[in-house]
């Protein structure tokens, strides 16, 4: 079985060889005073079509058309190559016309979202596996609701102890909103979120006003906060893993339409140059 490291090595090697071969061909065309834009343009368009086909493959479970993982590997390295071909095609400079500028920005956004997506898919799963229990994204709101009910039951239980309202007051003041639904999603994505720890410290500080039974309930509430925090973490990161495709896929089809319009215009007005 080929290891990931070796597969990466092979993928990169083949990509570099193909990239260099393309560069040499461009140079040769240039030396022969031929128009390199058509060559690089058609290569780029072909690559874009092949890259887009992966989305179709995902939809077609049958008939068996190679493993999705093989398509994905092709998608990654062909995407990398298309980035190189794109810069050859644009002549390593920024466009001047408005249409070309839109095309240029769309491509950069598409390629950028692809690279970011690759980074996310290689890093987020590990963080998810290391944090809390494995949970299915669509079920998280339900679990949050169950946790909220659990927390509320604990608070109601605490009121029964000598009619004390320490915990219930704190819950309604600080925790009720936090427990209502997935929170602090953005913080979980890019920064360290200390909200849960702050709540736990505050609960701990309230211990001095509680009797033993209330303290026991407060400890349980503190455990619920940990679970809620884990759910928020999973909700945010799993959401991002799904969400980046909402940028990448529409951009793909948008770019394809613009690219086809670009080709029609170029061929219509190229003026018969060789």
């Amino acid at each position: 079985m080929i290891t990931f490291k070796n597969r990466r090595r092979w993928g990169l090697t083949i990509s570099v060889i193909l990239g260099v071969a393309f560069a040499v061909m461009m140079l040769a065309y240039s030396v022969m005073l031929r128009n390199t834009a058509f060559l690089s343009g058609w290569v780029l368009f072909t690559l874009m079509i092949l890259l887009t086909l992966y989305n179709a493959r995902k939809k077609l479970t049958y008939p068996p058309l190679f493993k999705s993982a093989s398509w994905m590997q092709f998608h990654i390295y062909a995407g990398l190559l298309s980035f190189v071909v794109f810069f050859f095609h644009t002549g390593w400079r920024l466009p001047t016309g408005s249409f070309e500028s839109i095309l240029y920005v769309m491509f950069i956004l598409l390629a950028g979202s692809g690279f970011i997506g690759l980074y996310l898919t290689r890093t987020i799963p590990k963080s998810l596996a290391d944090r809390g229990s494995e949970v299915i994204f669509e079920r998280i709101p339900r679990f949050v609701r169950e946790l909220r009910e659990q927390a509320e039951a604990l608070v109601v239980e605490s009121v029964g102890f000598n009619d004390s309202t320490i915990l219930s007051d704190y819950y309604s003041e600080k925790l009720a909103d936090y427990m209502a639904r997935p929170r602090r999603i953005g913080l979980h994505l890019f920064w360290v979120d200390r909200t849960r720890k702050d709540f736990q410290h505050e609960l701990r500080a309230l211990h001095r006003y509680m009797n033993d039974e209330e303290r026991s309930v407060a400890e349980k509430l503190s455990d619920v906060l940990v679970l809620k925090d884990d759910l928020d973490f999973h909700y945010g990161r799993q959401g991002l893993l799904k969400g980046w495709l909402f940028l990448h896929v529409p951009l793909t089809y948008g770019l394809l339409i613009f690219a086809m319009a670009h080709m029609v215009l170029v061929h219509a007005f190229y003026g018969g140059l060789a």
Partner: protein, 612 residues
């Protein structure tokens, strides 16, 4: 409101029961598909062994006559027809009513036995089904169910459990001395065969051909019926147990890769068979104990019977016939699991090989326990040293002996001390496997080692995109047949997908035989038409991989049992996409190589996969 309407729409059909579809009607062949007549039943009850059975010992709910009526069928075969084929899985045993059969042990290759490709949908059909899948979950065609309407509908395309009888006489003509080339035994009228594969949930060990020049009439008994007959008739139980023991022993020895390497002569075979002993450890229905164990959170080792203990004298070579064993070694105050053994593996070979060639005595280097249950064949040390060791030594010197026999690593380095050598034998195996010890403990403790198609998910690579679930659903009329959820160790998940176990305990209690092994590949499949929704399989599955679902008809109406007003339920699970080309869709659909269907007996593969 729409939801309420959907709930109110119902289709009334009778609640499926065990004998709704008699075994005699569960046949694709329309000519043979018929009920047994009263006259035939009378004749059966007058013939042995049924004539000797005391019908009064059978409970009122399971009378002998009804068992014969519903759990048996008569089959007629012509000279040379294959009744069962070696390597196939079967769910029934056969009693010869007229004529005779031959048990062919070897000599007929796969093509001669007519093994064809599995019946699969064409790629175009598969493609079309993606666009024609029903939108509602668990939609069925009620007209296919035998309970539908007033009559019993003819069943088509059912998994009958029948072995394809093909033109063996013509094949045999290609071999003028076919019977001389094959080792075969004539089985006369009254013989029972096929019980080993049916009751043991293992592959058929021989091919049986009909060999009567005129015709051979057999009574095929599905294993649920055989089980009940054995339960209430002591003589049959004793007879079957004796057959089970003698035939199982021979089959286990002949299927051992180690003994195959030894190239024994016919005489040596006879001696080994005469001396070998058949032993069973643990409980055949181990899953019940296992489930209790999990609930009570007890130390699993305390519940696993010791077969051989580390430090003891090796009193024989153990060949594993069925079940699983845990290999462990003392470590501190406890024991450390470093491997497991399954069907075809051996235990004690390193020590016996060493002791046979050296005066320096080496005790057993590991403890072997039955993880669940384990059938082993013990070849006594003296027989091993006298017959097997010399042959193995020759094979070893010629370099023909596989260096790594599944389950043990043989170390022959002469420079090392004896004990070190054997210790290295085990250690090298675990080193070679590179399986983390805690992972090994996890796999054995959770009995994941039972799986031949276990769904492993690497959570470090899984992006939770659910492409696997979608792919599975698209191949099964929009119904996913697994849940991306399960037991986790480190960053690996064993998902709740049918593992197509080596020992499928889910099959044990099925009253109708709906859950069965497919004939060719041995995948565990459920026949939706004969499933009565009793949940026995779902409750028996130790891994919670079978789901009970309410079924609907094509107009989205829930099918209801008119007597109790409850929904008709069916058992569902992963079928490994047997009806589609290309293998399991889940694995092919994973974009990040995070999901793998793995045979847990293939430790080399597992170690590679865990260490990618």
């Amino acid at each position: 409101m729409a939801q309420v309407q959907v709930q109110l729409q119902t289709q009334i059909i009778d609640k499926p029961k065990r004998w709704d579809l008699p075994f005699s009607r569960d046949l694709p062949n329309e000519i043979e598909c018929r009920d047994l007549t009263e006259q035939e039943l009378d004749q059966l009850l007058e013939a042995e062994p049924f004539s000797k059975m005391d019908a009064s010992k059978f409970p009122k709910s399971l009378p002998l006559r009804e068992i014969l009526r519903n759990d048996t069928r008569t089959r007629v075969y012509h000279n040379g027809d294959a009744v069962v084929r070696v390597g196939d899985y079967g769910n029934s045993a056969f009693l010869i009513l007229e004529g005779d059969c031959r048990a062919v042990i070897e000599g007929l290759d796969a093509s001669a036995l007519g093994r064809g490709k599995k019946r699969q949908r064409s790629p175009l059909d598969s493609l079309i089904s993606l666009f024609t899948n029903p939108k509602s979950p668990e939609v069925r065609d009620p007209s296919l169910y035998p309970q539908f309407a007033e009559g019993k509908a003819a069943v088509e395309n059912s998994a009958s459990g029948r072995v394809f009888a093909q033109d063996v006489p013509n094949v045999l003509e290609l071999f003028p001395d076919a019977y001389e080339k094959t080792q075969n035994n004539v089985m006369p009228q009254g013989s029972l065969f096929g019980e080993l594969g049916a009751l043991g949930r293992v592959q058929r060990s021989v091919t049986v051909l009909a060999s009567d020049p005129t015709r051979t009439k057999l009574l095929e008994i599905r294993w649920q019926g055989l089980r009940d007959l054995m339960k209430y008739d002591g003589a049959l139980r004793e007879h079957v147990n004796q057959l089970f023991r003698s035939r199982g022993l021979l089959g286990a020895l002949q299927s051992s890769p180690l003994l195959e390497s030894a190239n024994l002569t016919a005489q040596q075979w006879e001696e080994v068979v005469a001396e070998a002993e058949f032993e069973t450890f643990g409980s055949y229905d181990w899953y019940g104990t296992y489930q209790q164990l999990r609930q009570k959170d007890e130390d699993p080792l305390s519940q696993e019977p010791i077969i051989s203990e580390e430090g003891q004298y090796p009193n024989g070579l153990l060949l594993v016939r069925a079940g699983f064993g845990r290999l462990s070694r003392k470590h501190g105050y406890g024991e450390h699991t470093f491997g497991y053994l399954g069907k075809g593996d051996v235990y004690g070979l390193t020590e016996l090989m060493h002791n046979a060639e050296s005066e320096d005595h080496m005790p057993l280097q590991a403890t072997l326990r039955a993880a669940g249950y384990m059938d082993v064949v013990r070849i006594p040390t003296r027989t091993f040293e006298k017959i097997i060791y010399p042959s193995l030594k020759i094979a070893q010197e010629k370099g023909e002996l596989p260096r790594s026999l599944s389950g043990e690593q043989i170390e022959y380095e002469g420079s090392q001390s004896a004990a070190q050598s054997a210790a290295n034998g085990h250690a090298e195996k675990s080193k070679k496997n590179k399986l983390d010890p805690s992972m090994m403990e996890f796999l054995v403790e959770n009995r994941v080692i039972n799986g031949t198609q276990t769904m492993l998910i690497d959570l470090d690579r899984c992006t939770r995109c659910d492409e696997c679930v979608r792919a599975c659903a698209s191949g099964h009329s929009n119904n996913p047949r697994f849940v991306r959820h399960g037991r986790i160790h480190s960053h690996y998940m064993v998902a709740n997908a049918c593992m197509h176990c080596e020992d499928p305990v889910c099959m044990i209690g099925c009253p109708t035989g709906a859950i069965h092994r497919t004939e060719g590949g041995g995948e565990v499949a459920i026949n939706d038409l004969t499933c009565i929704g009793c949940s026995t399989c779902a409750n028996s599955c130790p891994y919670e991989n079978i789901r009970m679902v309410s079924v609907r008809d094509q107009s989205n109406e829930v099918m209801l049992d008119p007597q109790k007003g409850r929904p008709i339920v069916k058992a569902t699970k992963c079928d490994l996409c047997v009806s589609h080309a290309g293998g399991p869709a889940c694995e092919r659909a994973c974009p990040h190589d995070a999901l793998k269907r793995a045979d847990m007996n293939d430790l080399d593969f597992l170690s590679d996969w865990f260490n990618r």
